[in-house]
């Protein structure tokens, strides 16, 4: 196992366990309100955008529209998961469509 992987796990564990355990150690039962709460609630959806959209639009580092299996699979994937909200079926659909478009477009 590489040191990079090990330090990744250590850091991920520290920050995750840290946010789980701090209230147990410090608080008597007070809730986070206001800006901080809204911010924390919006982080997951913002992160999903930041993880997905650049990979679809700029897979090789520049914007590619037509010969881009990532983009077109992504578009079909959004439509599919809108109607079939099933994790397993969705992943299979995405992989098969990508595999097909990858052969067709390149």
């Amino acid at each position: 196992m590489s040191t990079d992987y090990l330090s990744t796990i250590v850091l991920m564990t520290l920050v995750t366990y840290g946010s789980r355990v701090l209230p147990f150690l410090l608080f008597k039962g007070k809730n986070v309100q206001g800006f901080a709460r809204d911010f924390i609630e919006l982080v997951p959806i913002a992160l999903l955008a930041a993880l997905v959209i650049p990979e679809l639009v700029t897979p090789g580092g520049t914007i590619v529209l037509i010969h881009n299996p990532f983009l077109w699979t992504g578009v079909l994937m959004f439509v599919f998961s809108r109607f079939v909200p099933n994790l397993f079926l969705g992943i299979v659909f995405g992989m098969v469509v990508f595999w097909g478009l990858d052969k067709l477009l390149l």
Binding site: M1, D4, Y5, T8, I9, V10, L11, M12, T13, V15, T16, Y17, S19, R20, V21, L22, P23, F24, L25, F27, G29, K30, N31, G34, F35, D38, F39, I40, E41, L42, V43, I45, A46, L47, L48, A49, A50, L51, V52, P54, E55, L56, T58, I63, T73, G74, M77, F78, S81, P85, L87, G90, I91, F93, G94, M95, V97, F98, W99, D102
Partner: protein, 238 residues
Amino acid sequence: MINENDLIQNDKTGFIYGLRQSLTIVIGYAPVAITFGILATQFGLTFWEAGLMSFFVYAGASQFIGIEMIHQGATPLMIGLTTLIINIRHLLMSLSIVPFFPERTLPWSLGLAQGLTDETFVLNTKVLKEVVGEENRQRVMLGINLGAFSSWVIFTILGGLIGNWLPVEFSGFQFALLALFIILTTSSLSKQNYGTYLMAAVLAVVLKLLIPGKLYLILSVVLAAGIGAWWRRRRLPS
């Protein structure tokens, strides 16, 4: 003296009761953990490296994001920071579970906090309301947490072993995590957050083209969530 009320309460007091309650989570975790194990091995990790991450980190979404970022070549520090901003939400859940345990000791605090996930939080909140007595609540929560945790680790390793047997040359695996994230997106987009989603998407693409490395991920998320939260506050009558 034992009366009927005590007997009814005794049904809901123990570790075993919690363990049985955790079954609903186990059913939900199994396919996700297997998927994680398969993808981790497809991305070049061994089954026990995948299991190690599930054992220590134990946080679904950020583990998928972690292996995706490793795959994209992000540094451990960058992955750690991203994990922090995703998992800081555990503070909120932990804060609202803590009042169930006003007299908690240090070992119980350390132990119960370990098993807090989105799913165990929801189940514990529902179940603990009906359990009488702090000691009973501790044992029930421990049962719920341990059931969920062990299934997450075991099914990750199982998925990793399955992943070792699958053909590696299938190009579709490149899209598996993106597919997963898109499914998560469509199930969590709402009127309250789509503005933040669009802003983060535009910012991420622009910043990715402008800044070398993976810094665009954190910058776009913090900016978009910050502006989104500020916008919500602004519209509220104070």
